[in-house]
């Protein structure tokens, strides 16, 4: 995976966005994050990229997806991503406060790659994000699309 590949955060809560951005800044990769506050906008962006500027603007490296969002919740966004062949392979990490078994089971059923309960402590949160990005960017190997 290319280092330049961007991270996408789909999150409605401005405080959580702020914390996430702080974390990214803390771990030093803030310029590569694209944030959407609702699922529709994120899907528009991702599908438009895929159809109109194929090849020039590669798909994002990892999508961090919150579950509890207005209008369209995280699982719905996940379903649409996975049903579209061109976005089906983007790694999606569910980043949420919910540790409910139903949520966890459902998300995996819809095709999420990881499920992460947002750690309470800032340092742990930062470590977690860094590890995830590191994993998907540098450790995991994907087939060339």
């Amino acid at each position: 995976m290319n280092q330049s590949l961007e991270l996408v955060l789909i999150e409605d809560d401005p405080h959580d966005i702020e914390i996430f951005l702080n974390v990214v800044e803390w771990i030093g990769m803030n310029d590569k994050v694209r944030v959407f506050s609702d699922g529709r906008a994120a899907l528009d962006y991702l599908q438009k990229r895929e159809t109109k500027q194929e090849g020039k603007n590669p798909l994002p490296g990892v999508i961090f997806l919150d579950l509890k969002m207005p209008l369209m919740n995280g699982n719905e966004v996940l379903q649409i991503l996975r049903s579209d062949p061109h976005t089906a392979r983007i790694p999606v990490v569910i980043l949420t406060s919910s540790s409910l078994d139903d949520d966890i089971r459902q998300s995996y059923a819809f095709g999420s790659n990881s499920y992460v309960v947002k750690p309470l402590e800032f340092e742990k949160f930062a470590d977690t994000i860094r590890d995830i990005v590191n994993y998907w960017r540098n450790i995991n190997v994907r087939p060339v699309t």
């Binding site: 919910s98 409910l100 309470l120």
Partner: protein, 760 residues
Amino acid sequence: MAKYSELTINSALMISITIFCIVVIITMTFVSYTETDRNLKSIYKKEQLSAEDLFNKSSIYIHRAYKLWDRTYNPPMEMSMQVVSGAYNRSGGDPASMNLSGIQQAIRSLTGFSMNIYLIDKDGIITKTTDEPQQGLDFSRYPEFFSRLNDIRNKTAFVPDEIVTGFVKGSPHKKFAYQPTGDHRYVIELGIDVEDELRNNRNALSYEDLVMHVMKEYPSINRIHMINSLFVPDIGKEDYQNETLDPFTRATVSWVFDHKSRVEIADPDNHTLTTYFYIPHNIDQSPASAYQDLIGKIIFDTRVGDEDIAHNLMVHLILGISGSLAAILVGWIVSRRLSTPINRIVDEIDLIACGDLNRDISPSSHPELNRIADAIRSMVQHIRSMIQDLEESESRYRSLFKSSSDAILIIDGEVIRDINPAAVSLLSGEQEIMPGVNINDICKPIGTIIGDEAGLCAKVTSVPSPENRVFARENELSTIVNGQLRHLNILYSPVFARSGTMIQVRIRDITASYNLQEEIKNRNIILENQIQERTQALQMTIEDLNAFTYTISHDLRAPLRRMYADMHHLKQHLPDISDFLLQFTRIHENLKFMDNLIRDLLQFSQMSRQPLIKNEINMNNLVAGIITEIHEGLTGPDIRFQVNDLKAAYGDYTLIRQALFNLISNAVKFSDANRLNEISMGSSLAGGEVLYVIKDTGIGFNNEYAGRIFDVFYRLHQTGEYEGTGVGLAIVKRIITRHGGWIEADSEEGKGTIIRFSLG
């Protein structure tokens, strides 16, 4: 009724005995009759044959005696013949010139016999003789004799004939002899009148005497004839004298001669038996032998014999008839003697059969009849007790029938046979219902009373169709009786009787129980509705609770995290935080505790919702894994684990692991910091279930609270003294109870705690 034969025992007995006796008597009579008849006939036959035989043999003897006498005349006649022949030759063959009387004289002087001389020419005519009356007799009239004369003439022999005489006593005896002349022109015949003393002897041999004698000896003989071959009856009876034999007798005689046999001719009308039998006389072939063979004809008078036979028949007939009459009498007497007591006993049985069960059967002199009487008595006894039983049963039934609160009708076809008071009160309106009433007559009134003419009546009359009669049927009917809604249960059941199948209709008023049932039904419906409402409310509550837990898990955590982030930010950006380190630490601790609390509460609430996925669990491996995990994070006092062999469990692996983890970590958590702690585990089989025990030597607690330590948020120790949210043991209890098991704790302060649990 069975069809009885018209024949009474009396008649049957009489007839059989009589027939038997008659058959015996007739057989005996018949045998005796035939035997006697045969004997009689045989006696008569023997008499006949012996008469015949006597006659036959005697006549042969007579004849033979004649022969002997006859032969004595042959030598003188042959000598005389030489004299006549010599004289003829001297005359030159001319008889006319012959002195026959001179010759006669010469012969007499020579032989002592006076003989007649006949010269018979070739035409059979006596041309010259000393017997003047016979001069010119023409023998050619007797062809047979004439042919014999010619035979003699052509030969040279001397041919003596036999003495010829009639059969009648005293008739003249003549003997003739024949010889041809030398020139064969004549036959010389010499004849002697036998007049010597021998003739008297000869007369003693008279046939007539024989006939007389035989007839005298055998009185049954009517008459005896002797007939020669020329059909000349020789015994002097007038009707034979003139040589007239009827053609039938001629034919018979001729047949007997030809066959040298005998013939019997019976004439029952005249009571005669005539026998013809051949008497052989012609010992030698004398010229007159044809006249010598004889037929004896004896006419027996069979009147006496026939009368004897008829008498025999008559005697036997009388014997048979009188014997048969006697047999009938005997049969009648014997059958009377046998059948009278039987008839008496039958009469008595008839009386019993007519209902007089108290009548006894009088004893009889016949043991067999007494046995019948005994059998009848015991049968009557049996019937009596059966009747008694029946009466008792009937009375029981009657009282049940009368006192029954159910209405009961017994219907035979369309007629009510019986009805109980309950039915009368239920069904009677203006018209009273009583046995004998046709169901159709009361149908309409009943229908009016109960307000359902088509219902009850139609069912009562139509359901018990013949083919359905053997099956009981039950109907329920709601109808209006006397203005009130009643619910009736109607049972149709067959009653099998001799006259056919009747129907018992049992009408039970089930209004009360029906109403009760209805009420129960209604209440059930209400209850059902309530349950549904409550369930719905509960469902909503559960949903609310789910929403609440979700909110807790999501929304309560977000502010905590933000507080963390802000605290981190403050720590990073405040110029000097050394004065607030304690406060920062406390905030950090509280945030962390709160997060744990939320986590535990969520876990606890999820415990009851997750479905169990049960498998067999190797508890040894499970516990070993947990201990390893706990050991890694262990910072406190040293703890020794002692795990005995644990029996396998059956349950949800994740949940059981959670429960054991909580229990063991609890034991670790409450270990005594001042001494060596030991946590031991074991399992055993008790009362069909596996019991697991976890024992620690920790600080323990006051056993008064042993029942409460599994409640949510129940803590025995102050917050901060020991880690924990107070939810761990509650989770354990919920997991175990969800598996159908139980858990209990036993503790002593300062000594330790024992936890026992089973998964059921």
